[in-house]
Symmetry: C2
Subunit: 194 residues, 2 copies
Amino acid sequence: MVLMGRWEPDAPARLQRAAFELCSAQGYDQTTVAEIAARAGLTERTFFRHFADKREALFQGGDAFRTTIADAVLAAPTMASALEASTIGIKAGAALFPAREIVRRRQELIESNYELQERELIKLHSVATSIGEALRQRGVPGNFAELAAETSVTVLRVSLARWVGSRVEQAFNTHVDEVMDEFRRLATVRLNDT
Amino acid sequence: MVLMGRWEPDAPARLQRAAFELCSAQGYDQTTVAEIAARAGLTERTFFRHFADKREALFQGGDAFRTTIADAVLAAPTMASALEASTIGIKAGAALFPAREIVRRRQELIESNYELQERELIKLHSVATSIGEALRQRGVPGNFAELAAETSVTVLRVSLARWVGSRVEQAFNTHVDEVMDEFRRLATVRLNDT
């Protein structure tokens, strides 16, 4: 164990890891802030200096994810369509994902609790807003920017679910490509086409 | 004022209306369950027989909306695509909307509060799940069913925002048609196309 300086520069990351491990192992409702702080070797006071509550500790990192995505959209090649640019953003954001097994456990934890589902949906909503703003900065008209952004977040969500849920290990970005491909064929899939 | 019988058969609707009017006029955080019950001419006890908290009173009617949409998807013509069938569902659900001015005030109320935004996103998520299930019952493969359902909820959300936000009065379903049309052109809208 390394002795930590007074300012605990990596405190947020340690608290986040402790929160995730405890909630994942024993349940979200059963985990207290006191336990999370203790496991991270920090005080409750330090916890509350960084997070409003235990839920927020589990959603640490959302800003970096959003910024990475928006930056990639802003840097997308001019020849890309609005939807392609959004997808380039999603893929760039995915570079921040931890290992698939961690993401899988995280998604299970979120699915287990209504409060966490709500928080996750708000996070995805804010990702869509960021992508929409980036697209507008790239000159995409507002209505198309909003649609493309919302659509790419659907692609993100569906790709994520397939990535963590599939038996076969396949890169997240390959799932994104497959979902985009299905997306293009969506208008042609008929009822009773089985 | 009509005297109500002991069982107050329309209590949920009265409580919902009272909750909406009070929260809309004086703010969600500033409104108590006691005030809502009093305005509806009912007791707090009656309130809690119908709703877990004041937030739920504002989201009364979600089940009927979801069921109406799913039923319309199940009854959609076989020649419809998965996405068209979902849109038929959205339009059927929209028949339950109150007047545009009410919906506009409701959306403003939701936007004003984080808890209400979360609840609204959960509701839309459950609408997507219902549409997905209906599409699967109609023989649409699971991955396409999920994508079409999520996409149609994006169409619902965007159409709703335009309907309540536009200066010109235009039917909700016309907004849906416009959004669907933009949707088909989404892949062709390029960056810097202004």
